[in-house]
């Protein structure tokens, strides 16, 4: 009896397990897949068939070409590329340097500075945009890529934490022996610690990169000239308003905009997961 019961349970649990996994994966994919499906349809077909019906003509990329042109996505990809490179390089340099100083040196104010950064994470970003907008306006940073880039570098706290955690695991004796060899602090940072920090840098770059690429609220606020300064995320605003029902185009645009994130995700799954576990970034 008991063995029978155990056996029954032994079969039941895997079934429930896989049904749950399949069901929730389906739920997670359905909105995106239905979008892909619609993006392959012509306008006529879209109007006359159910959204869940597969496209008659198979895979047709004409909507993608049209969406790419109309939303000025070529320009958007260039802008997003520039922003990404600058923000990632800048915030990596700033972040690793700050983490190096905070972790390796004792000086008055060390704890205060850590707490200042910690407290900054409690301030809700959206709420802060009201005064930040005024400051950006006064600095003349609005409608300039460099203004947006500088602002994006300044608001990065999570990667600093990832770096500090990582520094804690690099033995100080490495620094000390280098000092005995006559290395300067900058050499230690640049030649010894930075190479060792590579896994943390990759993790934080992947996370920060996805976050920056997807950022739309500040981009919309500070890069208002949509013909010259669209990013990939804000280029989708082309379809807001009167064109809000041309779903064949919209879906194609949406899929184009999420493809780079998908590629990065497939290539860097491990870094993304460990980055989430280390710094927990909640969009």
């Amino acid at each position: 009896m008991t063995t029978k019961e155990a056996k029954k349970r032994g079969i039941l649990w895997p079934i429930i397990k896989y049904i749950s996994l399949i069901f929730f994966s389906f739920v997670a994919l359905l909105p995106v897949v239905s979008c892909v499906n619609t993006s392959f349809k012509s306008m006529d077909e879209y109007r006359n068939t159910n959204v869940m019906q597969l496209p008659l003509n198979g895979i047709d990329f004409s909507n993608y070409v049209k969406a790419f042109k109309e939303a000025n996505m070529g320009r958007a990809f260039i802008n997003s590329g520039i922003i990404l490179v600058c923000v990632l390089v800048g915030s990596t340099i700033i972040g690793t340097q700050l983490a190096y100083v905070l972790n390796r040196f004792k000086f008055p104010g060390n704890n205060l500075i850590r707490n200042l950064f910690l407290f900054a994470t409690l301030l809700p970003g959206i709420a802060m945009q009201v005064p930040v907008y005024k400051i950006m306006h006064d600095l003349g940073f609005i409608n300039h890529l460099y203004g947006y880039i500088i602002m994006m570098m300044g608001t990065d706290v999570i990667s600093i934490y990832i770096f500090i955690q990582f520094f804690e695991n690099i033995p100080v004796s490495l620094d000390e022996s280098a000092i005995l060899d006559g290395a300067s602090y900058f050499t230690i940072y640049r030649k010894i610690l930075l190479p060792l920090l590579k896994p943390a840098i990759v993790t934080s770059m992947v996370l920060k990169g996805v976050g920056t690429y997807n950022e739309y609220y500040c981009a919309n606020l500070y890069l208002q000239d949509k013909t010259k300064l669209p990013t990939v995320a804000t280029s989708l605003y082309t379809f807001v308003g009167p064109r809000g029902s041309e779903y064949t185009l919209i879906c194609a645009g949406v899929i184009i905009s999420l493809l780079p994130a998908l590629v990065i995700f497939i290539l860097c799954q491990k870094q993304i997961y460990s980055g989430i576990a280390m710094g927990a970034v909640k969009g």
Binding site: P31, I94, L118, P124, E215, L221, I250, L258, M278, K282
Partner: protein
């Protein structure tokens, strides 16, 4: 002889002083050089705006032009206007969503932490929505919930008839639930990954021992997994409280706050950038910030009280988790 030794000592002391001075000098130099830019950025984009925000909240002003001191009038307005403080009650939907999301994430994380066929594929599918940009999410769900489109079609497959289905984004009795669903869809994968990380750090031999003792999967979950991840579990619950108070993105991108879906921050955004009532918007921000800070403080006390033993056992781990919480909070606000 004696004077000689003294001289050597003196010389040593002097040399040491010189050496330390140069090292100290280098140290001071590198500290300043490496910190000036991040501190400047932190000041310009966090603390200066923070101070300005508090200041603005006492003025009647726009982004440009004259400002008039109005004292506490803006704060009075926050509590008296029908669209401001009242909007916080919408947070209850997102709080409910947050709890459901955590339960779901924990359930799936438990499954995925053990050997499962295609585990990585399932994990990837469920996590991917987290990486889609906000505007795309907005379009995807406008499309998803449109009358007769994806969601309705799937429900029709399940035997519902279209006449009985509401307009998911217009009908005020359901639209906040629709947005809650979209919010869960977007974020549960992230919670799941966090939980998987926590469960994986549990010593594997404990499960083997439990299995030998005849414990089933459910008992293993209750007696091994849950106690081991309780701090990260409570952290997540608390995060969803402050996250639900500052809920912004789902209503902002999907409905733009129409038909009674405008949460506190959506209202604030509108007041700040459409009506340009910067003073009132700042007061709203300060009020919510105050609430969140009080909650954070309460949660710190709660931790001190409930997890005191855990802290004694493993202070480093505790500190790490506290930091994680703070970092996650920072992300939640973005």
């Amino acid at each position: 002889m004696e004077t000689n030794a003294l001289g050597a000592k003196k010389r040593n002391a002097f040399n040491f002083k010189k050496w330390s001075r140069s090292r100290n000098g280098q140290q001071t130099f590198i500290i300043i050089a490496f910190m000036i830019i991040p501190l400047l950025l932190l000041f310009v984009f966090t603390y200066l705006p923070f101070g300005e925000m508090v200041k603005f909240s006492f003025y009647d002003m726009k982004y440009v032009g004259r400002r008039t001191w109005v004292g506490l009038q803006n704060y009075k307005d926050v509590f008296q206007r029908t669209d401001c403080f009242a909007a916080l009650k919408l947070s209850l939907y997102y709080l409910l969503g947050g709890v459901l999301q955590i339960i779901l994430a924990l359930y799936l994380a438990t499954i995925l932490s053990f050997k499962v066929k295609l585990g990585n594929l399932f994990k990837g599918c469920m996590f991917f929505p987290f990486l889609i940009n906000g505007i795309a999410v907005g379009f995807i769900f406008k499309f998803f919930f449109t009358r007769g489109y994806v969601f309705d079609t799937v429900l029709q497959w399940c035997g519902f008839s279209l006449q009985n289905l509401p307009y998911w984004l217009k009908d005020q009795s359901v639209n906040n639930f629709s947005l809650m669903g979209a919010s869960i869809w977007r974020y549960f994968g992230q919670n799941m990954v966090l939980f998987i990380g926590a469960i994986m750090s549990v010593d594997g031999s404990m499960y083997e021992a439990a299995e030998l003792d005849g414990a089933n999967k459910f008992q293993q979950f209750i007696y091994i997994i849950l106690p081991n991840i309780k701090s990260i579990f409570v952290l997540n619950i608390m995060l969803s409280v402050s996250g639900s108070l500052s809920a912004f993105e789902p209503p902002y991108v999907i409905t733009a706050g129409a038909n009674g879906t405008a949460t506190y921050f959506v209202v604030m955004d509108r007041i700040a950038h459409t009506s340009q009532k910067v003073g009132l918007a700042s007061a709203m921000a300060v009020v919510l910030l105050g609430i969140i800070l009080i909650l954070t403080l309460l949660q710190k006390l709660f931790f001190k009280y409930v997890f005191k033993n855990a802290e004694d056992d493993n202070p480093k781990k505790f500190k790490r988790e506290q930091r994680k919480l703070a970092a996650a909070k920072g992300g939640a606000a973005q």
